[in-house]
Symmetry: C2
Subunit: 248 residues, 2 copies
DNA sequence: ACCTCGACTTCTGCATACAGAATACTGTAT
DNA sequence: ATACAGTATTCTGTATGCAGAAGTCGAGGT
């Protein structure tokens, strides 16, 4: 029974409001997908998920709706849900969109420039360079994500932030190989980007960000070409198929 | 491998598959919101909607999830759903994002330029100009929407198309006054945009689109300043409050 | 051996039911 | 009159049940 009392220690929420189950299911499933425990293409059976997560089908369904609207799973109306399997073309398109949105973020951030924000950026940049120096891939990825997010926050455009975050989650899978591929250069570009933002030079900031994300995209394409399908578990069969009980 | 892969059976896509109830509810509610029959800020009670539309609460809930993820309603976890009431700042931000995405669309469309697509654009442009000539506001809005959509389609980027469509639906409310405000000039700009796309001049196309959407945004801001709240029904009370049932 | 037809299984879609949470109301005290 | 507390009520969140549709498997015909 899911009536398990959990110590409501999440602070991001309003005072003591229980996080809806659907949201926890959403989070859990997103992580299962990112970690490949739910493989791309896999058929998701509601009752199995319900059992696996210890809840009823209802919150599962609602979470699936959400995951669908963000491109994590595909819903075939009469049939079921499938973990979305992004093609190379699709990831490429996502990176193009991301490039456009982030270039706009940088432009607006430069127009909104503010000393405190620039300081945050510098700090993150330093963290990233440190990660490069110690060859810490995960650290690079993390600092990179935070830095980009910070730029978008500094744009002051909440809609933009939501959108970039959404796109970003969908391509997060692909950052690790990219970071491995061009870690050092990437952080030089970040430094120049911050210079432009600090100077309030909107065009330069936009252009620098665009070139930066464009190189990231190129890097992805090269990586993928060298390593076409990065350990994609091949559709890991849905469920043990109970043979029809032979009556005899 | 003696490929016994099912040949035609693969397209077993029933043409008359029954549209899921949740989707019809989604459509219906979106139209109710656009037509202001459900007013911004209004509290949506699931059971009332269910009764109004003649279905159970389940498809209502699923539709609400969808409407929430697209910004049509706000979901307050413990409490309920409310028709989203966009602020001026939010609409402005949406228009900024739209400008960035559409500029990218135009850029890509110019790179992908193709005679057949340009012909479609020209035709839509002619329709729009005809609508301007006959002072047909709705015609202008429709032709405008189709033209912009067409440009994004020509970009060849499906992700971009999805994203632009989503943003576009959220600002559709505001197109009519804008069209009324600057109908004629708008179509001159469209013509120049198409020229740039036809010429394959990506920078010009991008710049033209950006200036165009930027003027649209300015037009919105002016309009809104003249007419701060375009007939927003003020939160039309939720439900007749049944006095405590007087028993027998 | 291949294809077709038919029944079975399983799953989704939808409806209903129940418990807890949040709100709004009412009465009382200051 | 205002503020506060207690109570009542409504609504959401979640679980469960049921019917129909989609897919699958197997048998029989060609």
């Amino acid at each position: 029974m899911p009536s398990t009392e959990l110590p409501q220690q999440m602070s991001a929420r309003r005072i003591d409001r229980p996080v809806p189950l659907r949201e926890r299911v959403y989070q859990a499933m997103q992580e299962l997908i990112i970690s490949r425990q739910l493989a791309p293409g896999q058929h998701l059976v509601e009752s199995e998920l319900a059992e696996m997560l210890g809840v009823s089908r209802q919150p599962i369904r609602e979470a699936l709706q959400l995951l669908n609207s963000e491109g994590w799973v595909d819903l075939r109306p009469g049939y079921g849900a499938f973990v979305h399997a992004p093609t190379e073309a699709e990831v490429d398109q996502l990176l193009v969109v991301r490039a456009a949105l982030e270039a706009e973020s940088a432009r607006l951030a430069a127009l909104n420039t503010d000393a405190e924000g620039v300081a945050r950026l510098r700090k993150l940049c330093a963290q990233g360079e440190a990660a490069v120096a110690s060859d810490d891939i995960d650290g690079m990825v993390a600092a990179n994500a935070e830095l980009h997010r910070c730029v978008t926050e500094l744009s002051g455009n909440q809609v933009l932030l939501d959108m970039v975050s959404q796109v970003d989650r969908r391509v997060r899978w692909y950052y690790t190989p990219i970071a491995r591929h061009r870690g050092h250069q990437s952080w030089q570009e970040h430094a120049r980007l911050i210079d432009a933002i600090e100077a309030g030079d909107a065009d330069a900031a936009s252009r620098t960000m665009r070139e930066h994300t464009e190189r990231t995209r190129q890097s992805y394409l090269e990586q993928r070409r060298e390593n076409p399908e990065p350990e994609v578990a091949p559709v890991q069969v849905r469920s043990r198929r109970r043979r029809t009980a032979p009556g005899v």
